[in-house]
Structures are given as structure tokens and as C-alpha cells.
Amino acid sequence: MPKREIEGDWVMGWPDRKRPAIIAGKDAQGRVINGRAPITELEGLITPTDAYYVVNQLEVPEPIHPDDWILSVGGEVERPIELSLKDLQKLPGRTVRAVTECAGNDAGYFDYLERGVRKPSRINQQDMQKRAAQREQNAVPSTEEIGNESTTTCAMSAGEFTGVPLAEVLKKCGLKSDAVAVRMEGFDRGQPDLAVQYRSVGRSDFKLVDPGVINYEKGLPIAKALHPDTLLAWSMNGEYLLHIHGAPVRAVVPGWSGNWWVKWLQKIDVLKHMPECYYQKHYFVYGRSPDDPNKEMITAMGVRCIITDPLDEDSPLERGAHKIRGLAWSGMGAITRVEVSIDEGRTWTDAHLEEPCERWLWVRWSHLWEANAPGHYRIMARATDETGRVQPQIPWNYQRKHFDGIVPTDVTVI
């Protein structure tokens, strides 16, 4: 395998590996507003905070000092309350390790598998920089223009979050029995950028609803809200949350895509009905077309498995033993099996799952491949989770959300 050059940098004054960092898109003031994780450069399970992907739907708000932050909790509860960060920290805490994945992550692979367009690359820096820059443009592109643009990859990361279960907060307020949903509102505010949404969907030949200026909000079904691993978190990867990741407090909704992980929380309303939040009624929905009368809000992610080694870009490989490596995760539970095929899916072999296999975290897997015969190989991998779901689970949908298809790696052995 041709070795990819290890980049060097000066870290704390010493020569070292260049540390992984997001490919960032910035606003006019040079502040990061979106970023892609360098997923193939990472090791271990937890994504370093500087390399953690960033996606925002509305404008990033001005920061609030943690001492000035107040969370109001009301609606269908016996005792509406206001909590400071210190109040929140007095409740029984919990730490959860989980994958965060943007609902539109890897959307371009839908087009690759369905329509045979160019396979997106997870390491093409130019593509990723272009994508980051496109996020800053607000002119609505034509469907044809979008088709020629680079696609979304690497909007996935995994972190360790510490906070308090949302259920503890609801218990403190006295949750009423007729509660159906918990509406979480952030203090990020703005008018949804239609250009961003058209780009995410991959087409612009339909009309989007324009809700005007809104706060970001999501209505979490009560069962998920009461799950002990659904947190209001103030900490990420061993330190207080960074502003760009939702400080002082954000929601952590393991297994569900990033749009549910409301950042910059300021208000929680318990409701007797599902709210008609823009970002779950009009956007972040499954449907066959924009006119589909049976659109459904997206919730848990499918079952995913990606190959991080080798990549198409590593081809040609020299004959001999090569380790096929990757990551696998699921929106509904721990990964129990990963299978690898090197003959386009005709035969499958179990890969080695590298412990731990946690419920919400991804697992690293590997398979030693003795590549002794020259030729072209199509390497595939598929995962199974503890609920028995086998990849892929999520069919094509017009907003291209929750892609979990099997993406082959194509290499030649010489």
C-alpha cells in the first residue's frame, strides 16, 4: 500500500504529527460556522474536540456567560422552574459516549449508489473545502448546479458527554401523565437559509416553506425524552462545552441524528401534542418527493459501517497482507457483527470487533486480508446491531437523510 505521508507540525514547541482538525467554513469575521471531521485520520473512538464536525441550521448566537444562563422548564408539569447551570449540576449526573452524525452525512452516496454519479471522497480536501465554502453562500443554486457540487461527507464524530438526564429535570418539575413531547428550544435564531437546505437535499426544483425568523427547536417524543441516556450536557470530551458545540448546555440524544441534539438550550416545554417545529415537519423528514403527503420526521439513525482503510485513493496495493479497518455504529444499539466481502458481496466473512462495543458509540472493526492475487477488488462491509437490524435500513428519500448504504472500496492489487 503506498504510504500516505504523515504531516508534521510543532505541537507545544515539539515536532509532532499534525493534529487532526476540522475542515472549517467561516463567517466574515473568521469564526467557524461549519466543519467536517477528518474521519480517516482519526484513531480510537473519541473524536478530539478540534476535529469534531460542526453543522448549524441557523445563525450561531452570541455566547452567554455560564453564570447568566437560565433554562426555563414549563408546560405540562406540576412545577414550572428556572434552572441555572449550578442548579442543573446539583442533579444526579450521567456520562454518555455517543456518535453524533448529521442527518445529511454521506448524502452524496445515495446518488452514487442510485444514479451512478462520481463516488464522493472522504479525504479530498479540495472537495471538503469547497463544501465548507458553499455553506457560506446564500444564493439558491439550480438543481443542475447542485449536481456538480461536492457532496457532504465527514459530518460524523463521537464524543463523551457529561450532564444530567433530561428525565431528572422533568421529574423535578413533576411531569404530568398526559405529556406527549418535550419541545427543546435553543437561543440560536435566524431565518432558515434555503440555499443551505437545497444544497443538503441535492436539488432545488421544489418550494421550501419559509417560516421567517425562528429559534431552533425540536419536539422530542416523550419516550426518548425520558430515556436515561438523553442528556442535558455541559461537558464534552473532558472539558466544558465549547460555544460552537452549544455551550453552556446542549441536548444529547444518543442514536438520533445531530438535528435532535439542540444546542444553546434556553427553554423546555412539555406538551400534550407533537409540536409542528419547522425542523421536523418541513425539513429533516423522510418522503418520496416534496409532494409526498406521508412525510415522516426522522428519528433514529440506521445501521452504518464505513471502511477507513484501505481507501480508493490507496490503490494500487502491493500483494500481501492488508488490514481492512473501519467504524460501525447504529441508531438503535450496539453493533454485534460486521461482515466483510472482497468479491463484490458474493461471500462475506466476519470481521473482528475491537472492544468495547458500546450501545451508542461506534466500534472499530478489522479484518486481515491476504491479497495474494493481482486484480481489481471491490471491498464491502456491512454491520448488524443488537436489535437484529442489518445494514442498509434507510431507503432513498428526497431529502437524502440518514444514508446507511453499503459503500464499496475499489482497489487494485499489483
Partner: protein
């Protein structure tokens, strides 16, 4: 010590002048103008990096060394202690040694003082065959250091290089001009300033970065360079530093297409745009 290269010497010595600047990729809003102090103030914590044209000058030197095995490359800068980091970056790219000119007397150095100091350092080094610099610094955009060094050394200067090659005792430069490029030759020793057309500079790899940690960086003061008070005296004076006021005017031209075209041409000529 003479800086003139004897014709018979085989090992080439290239000195690359580099400058530490606030990250030019930073948004303009990261800078404030202090009109009273007549200076631009970058936001605290703004990354300081090697000026990109200088990075490309280092790249040009490395490409020459690829054709002339054994050539020595020295990166040279004038600045505060933090400027050591741009030397370390140059060493990680592949340069052999660094020289930092650091002295409080240079805190208010203008282009002239900088040139005097750099020239004194070049003269102090082992004989130098070629001096390379970026075509201009990314912060001040003055573009005078390269030509100034050549003037004080009495060497030929070739500016805006797209490609720099050494053939024996001859420097051959493809330089960028308005109409395209031209090839210029000069006897060594000489000075060349490098333009962005040379292409992207290489990214330091881990092995070279680790090697760089063991490469020497000399620190010289004004006294080490025998620079007297006259040499330290700035020749330029900043009159005013201010944010330019952007104005946009829109004029509509009416008439037939022919009349509009003629009127547009007149306007553009009046504005000296064509």
C-alpha cells in the same frame, strides 16, 4: 567575511528571507486600526505565520536543491522571539539552518532598517550565492526588501519569479509580467523575489519536522551585526493609518445599444480603466 561566491566553489548557499505576519487567511474584521498610534492591531490570539510568498520562496530554494545536491538553505528573519516559529516552519519544510535577528532596537524598524539588518546578516554568513524572498510581505505589501537587499549588496535583482533555476554560475528566472512571462538570466550571486505563480509550497512532513528540531537556529543582535545607530534609523515616517472608506456609485447609461456602448467606453476611458 566576503559574501561573494568564488566561481570555483561547488556547494551552493541559498539564503531565504522570511517574515512572520498575522495569518493572512484571517477575516479583515480581526484587525482594528489604531489611528492615534498609527498602526494596525490584530485581534489577540490571532495566529502568526510565515508570509505565504516567503513560504513559496522557501519552496523555490528546495526545488533548486533538488537539482543541486548538497546546496545549503538558510532561512533568515528579523523579528521578536516569536518569529523563531517561522524559522522552525522553514526548517520543517526542509531548510538546513535558521538565523533570527532579534533586538529591541528593531522594534520600530522600517523597510530600510530591515534591509540593512538582513544584508548585514547575509554578509556575516558563509558566502551566499543566491538570496530569495517573497515578492512582498502579506501584511505590509511593500515589496521593497528583495530589491533593497540587491541594491545594498550590489547584486542583480530579479523580481516576480515563477520559476527559479541555477545553471552553473548563472541564475535563470521565469518572471511574471503583465503580458505573460519572460526569461531573465543573471550572474550569481543574485537576488530573486518569488511570486505565487511558482505554485503551492510543500507541507512539512513528520520526518522533516522531527529533523528540524535538531537544526541550528542562530540568534544575532544589532551588535553582532555591527549595526550602528545610523543603520538603525528608520528612513520612513508613517503619516496616517486609516480604514479606507468604500464608496459605490451607480450610473445608468441609456440610449440605443450603440450609444450605450460608446458612452460606456467614454466613461471607462475617463476613469482610466481602459
Amino acid at each position: 567575511m566576503s559574501s561573494i561566491r568564488p566561481r570555483w566553489r561547488v556547494v551552493m548557499h541559498i539564503v531565504v528571507c522570511v517574515k512572520q505576519v498575522p495569518d493572512p487567511e484571517a477575516a479583515f474584521s480581526m484587525f482594528k486600526v489604531d489611528e492615534a498610534a498609527k498602526r494596525v492591531v490584530p485581534a489577540p490570539g490571532l495566529a502568526m505565520v510565515m508570509s505565504p510568498f516567503d513560504e513559496q520562496a522557501v519552496e523555490a530554494a528546495l526545488r533548486i536543491r533538488e537539482q543541486h545536491a548538497g546546496a545549503k538553505i538558510t532561512v533568515l528573519t528579523l523579528g521578536p522571539e516569536s518569529a523563531r516559529n517561522v524559522l522552525k516552519h522553514g526548517l520543517a519544510m526542509g531548510a538546513d539552518e535558521g538565523v533570527l535577528i532579534r533586538d529591541a532596537v528593531f522594534d520600530a524598524a522600517d523597510g530600510h532598517v530591515t534591509v540593512r539588518a538582513l544584508v548585514a546578516a547575509i554578509k556575516k554568513m558563509t558566502a551566499c550565492d543566491l538570496v530569495l524572498a517573497g515578492r512582498q510581505a502579506a501584511d505590509s505589501d511593500a515589496g521593497m526588501v528583495g530589491a533593497g537587499i540587491a541594491e545594498l549588496l550590489g547584486w542583480p535583482a530579479v523580481t516576480f519569479a515563477k520559476d527559479v533555476q541555477v545553471h552553473g554560475a548563472l541564475l535563470r528566472v521565469e518572471r511574471v509580467v503583465d503580458e505573460g512571462t519572460e526569461i531573465v538570466e543573471a550572474d550569481l550571486p543574485a537576488v530573486a523575489t518569488v511570486s505565487n505563480e511558482i505554485g503551492p509550497a510543500r507541507t512539512p512532513n513528520l520526518r522533516e519536522t522531527m529533523r528540524a528540531a535538531r537544526k541550528p537556529i542562530a540568534v544575532w543582535t544589532a551588535a553582532d551585526l555591527d549595526l550602528n545607530a545610523e543603520a538603525q534609523r528608520a528612513r520612513s515616517r508613517v503619516e496616517r493609518v486609516f480604514m479606507p472608506v468604500k464608496q459605490a456609485q451607480c450610473a445608468f447609461i441609456s440610449g440605443s445599444a450603440q450609444e450605450q456602448a460608446a458612452a460606456l467606453a467614454r466613461e471607462l476611458r475617463t476613469a482610466q480603466l481602459i
